[in-house]
């Protein structure tokens, strides 16, 4: 057993302090959401649920939340299907052309959000997609595709190329091989990709600001307008719900993994 050295103390306490910096600011929304005042601040006299009541009784907030959820699910499904097919195709090909295709598919990660949103805006105007759910779904699917293709491809790295080859030589068609052999192997990657795609869509703000006007409102847009227009503690309530939900899901997955 080595004595605890200064080196160790430096890194370990440092790491915990930095993790506190990373996580604690997320939690400040909790007390603020319980404030009894009508402005952002800590509770003055007593805790109040009024801002949660406000959220759950405000049709605009609920509508925006629902929009974000269903758009996110549609986006995740579309991106998961398209991205999985893409990654599997590229995995089989594994040549120079498919590598270029993979680079093309991840450009949305590298292009600044404002720039791509300008592009969307101009094109969507021509297509008549401005302020439509379809327009948002299409844009978000494009933004989510890189994540699906990366995670599916990562899952396939461990798949032995001889297995599909064997299936083929036993007479299975290309499609049968893909469905019966490759897709099951890619499953963890597809699932991760699906979750990523949902989150990308659920959190996306800059594109939505450009391509929607008033008919389509998502949760981030509502939060954005709330922050800009009137900082009222309802946002803190929404933020708290989202943070707690995240904590819960993280905890559940962590427990599952350990058990």
């Amino acid at each position: 057993m080595m004595p605890v050295s200064a080196f160790r103390i430096f890194f370990q306490t440092g790491a915990w302090m930095i993790l506190a910096f990373l996580v604690l600011p997320l939690l400040v929304v909790i007390p603020v959401s319980l404030t009894d005042t009508s402005y952002i601040g800590l509770p003055k006299e007593h805790l109040s649920m009024q801002h949660y009541v406000n959220y759950f009784s405000d049709t605009e907030w609920l509508h925006a939340t629902w929009s974000s959820i269903w758009i996110g699910l549609v986006v995740a499904s579309c991106a998961a299907v398209l991205g999985t097919a893409f990654a599997i195709g590229c995995w089989f090909l594994s040549d120079r052309a498919s590598a270029i295709a993979r680079w093309i598919l991840i450009t949305p990660i590298l292009v600044p959000p404002v720039v791509q949103s300008l592009g969307f805006y101009r094109f969507w105007v021509q297509l008549g997609l401005i302020d439509t759910s379809l327009g948002v779904i299409l844009a978000h699917t494009l933004l989510a595709l890189p994540y699906v293709s990366i995670s599916v491809f990562a899952a396939l790295v461990n798949l032995d190329r001889n297995i599909p080859r064997a299936a083929r030589s036993l007479g299975a068609s290309v499609w049968q091989t893909v469905l019966a052999v490759v897709v099951p192997a890619a499953k963890p990657g597809i699932l991760t990709g699906f979750v990523f795609a949902f989150i990308v869509s659920f959190d996306e703000i800059v594109g939505v600001l450009f391509i929607t006007v008033r008919r389509v409102t998502t949760l981030p847009k509502k939060i954005w307008e709330g922050i800009q227009d009137n900082i009222d503690p309802t946002i803190a309530a929404v933020a708290t719900l989202l943070v707690l939900l995240t904590l819960l899901i993280t905890a559940i997955t962590a427990l599952r993994r350990t058990s």
Partner: protein, 377 residues
């Protein structure tokens, strides 16, 4: 096509109403206007189909639409039997132009701005106002054009928080630039509109001289230099609600903001912690314009404009939205407690100047560039 109308100010008036009543939706700022001005129009304008004997009035939506409906439309219909339909889809100059050029005009009367009114007039898109029906004397001097007439007024004003300043409140723009006696943060708009004027007055230039000074390059440079000097004490507001928040959150104690936002803040802030001075304010008018070949015919629309000039109706506007009556005769009818918040009360008129659209048409683009540079460089 340059469009010097301040769309955001208009939309802001709509937004304010939203806050008032907590209903209706805000429009995404800038974008409808952008589409119109770019000439990229999705479906033309509104779904309102114009029938004979009805007037379609277009403004910028939100609950300003409801107020317009309640204050002007219903009273007009009650009086004349002519139905009035309000469309809140935002009559940008580009949209009006596209509509007239396409020959499918469905709008009768549009809430535009001075800049757009002048451009539309030059391009032959709008009709002359019939001043035998509309009374020229019932609008503020300088807001009666050939093809457009004043509708309401909002001002850029000096807003302060006396409580934060310990009662030591700036009285004029020169004081605002005096950070020694009046420390703390100020807020100015993220655009030169209504801002360069205050920086010019801060140099001791008389209000009536402001635009002639700003018409010289030196004049602009001097105003910009004033902002450069003050920038460490500046937080910028982008939208009207931004400016409101900065005061509510006590991020600033001094600012140049819209009188319509001040109208809201006076009710939201604690007693004695908000105050406005119209000293050195800049008044910007909303302007009615009538598209060529409007479906309801010229005469009917002129009658409606004349109806809207009634002072008692304009006072209602002030009460509900904070936009000031364009008709000087309305001032005496304003309830006493609101008088000092009225941009067009005689006392406030005496200390303000009128927003000069011609100047903006000529110099705004260059000035904006220098303004940004002064604030961030």
């Amino acid at each position: 096509m340059t469009d010097t109308t301040d769309f955001e100010a208009k939309r802001d008036i709509a937004d304010i109403a939203v806050e008032r009543y907590k209903q209706g939706r805000l429009t995404r700022r800038g974008f409808i206007a952008a589409m119109g001005a770019l000439g990229i129009l999705p479906a033309l304008g509104s779904k309102v189909s114009a029938q004979a004997n009805e007037i379609v009035v277009v403004n910028w939506g939100g609950t300003a639409k409801d107020v317009l409906e309640e204050v002007l439309a219903e009273t007009y219909t009650a009086e004349t039997g002519v139905p009035v339909v309000i469309d809140g889809s935002g009559p940008s100059a580009g949209k009006i132009r596209a509509m007239v050029e396409s020959g499918a005009v469905v709008w009768d009367l549009c809430d535009s701005g001075a800049g757009s009114a002048i451009i539309l007039e030059q391009q032959g898109i709008t009709q002359p106002i019939d001043y035998s029906i509309v009374d020229k004397s019932k609008v503020l001097e300088g807001t009666a054009y050939n093809n457009g007439v004043g509708n309401y007024i909002y001002s850029y004003v000096l807003a302060t928080n006396p409580k934060m300043l310990g009662g030591n409140v700036p009285q004029n723009w020169a004081d605002v630039w005096n950070t020694k006696d009046f420390p703390g943060m100020r807020t100015f708009r993220k655009s030169v509109r209504g801002m360069l004027e205050s920086a010019t007055m801060a140099q001791g230039i008389a209000p009536e001289e402001v635009y002639s000074v700003l018409n010289t390059e030196d004049g602009i440079a001097a105003a910009i230099a004033k902002f450069r000097e003050l920038r460490e004490n500046i937080i910028v507001w982008g939208s009207g609600s931004d400016s409101q928040n900065l005061f509510l959150q006590e991020e600033v104690a001094i600012g140049n903001i819209w009188s319509t936002r001040a109208h809201l803040l006076k009710d939201q802030m604690d007693e004695g912690s908000f105050q406005v001075s119209f000293n050195g304010g800049v008044m910007a008018p909303g302007i009615w314009v009538v598209p060529k070949d409007n479906p309801a015919g010229t005469e009917e629309v002129m009658k409606f404009i004349a109806h809207a000039q009634k002072p008692e109706l304009q006072v209602k506007w002030l009460e509900l939205l904070g936009s000031g009556p364009i008709n000087p005769a309305a001032a005496p009818m304003v309830p006493e407690e609101l008088a000092r918040w009225n941009p067009t009360s005689p006392e406030n008129l005496a200390t303000q100047i009128l927003y000069n659209d011609e100047w903006y048409a000529k110099h705004q683009v260059a000035a904006e560039e220098m303004y940004v540079d002064a604030l961030i460089n």
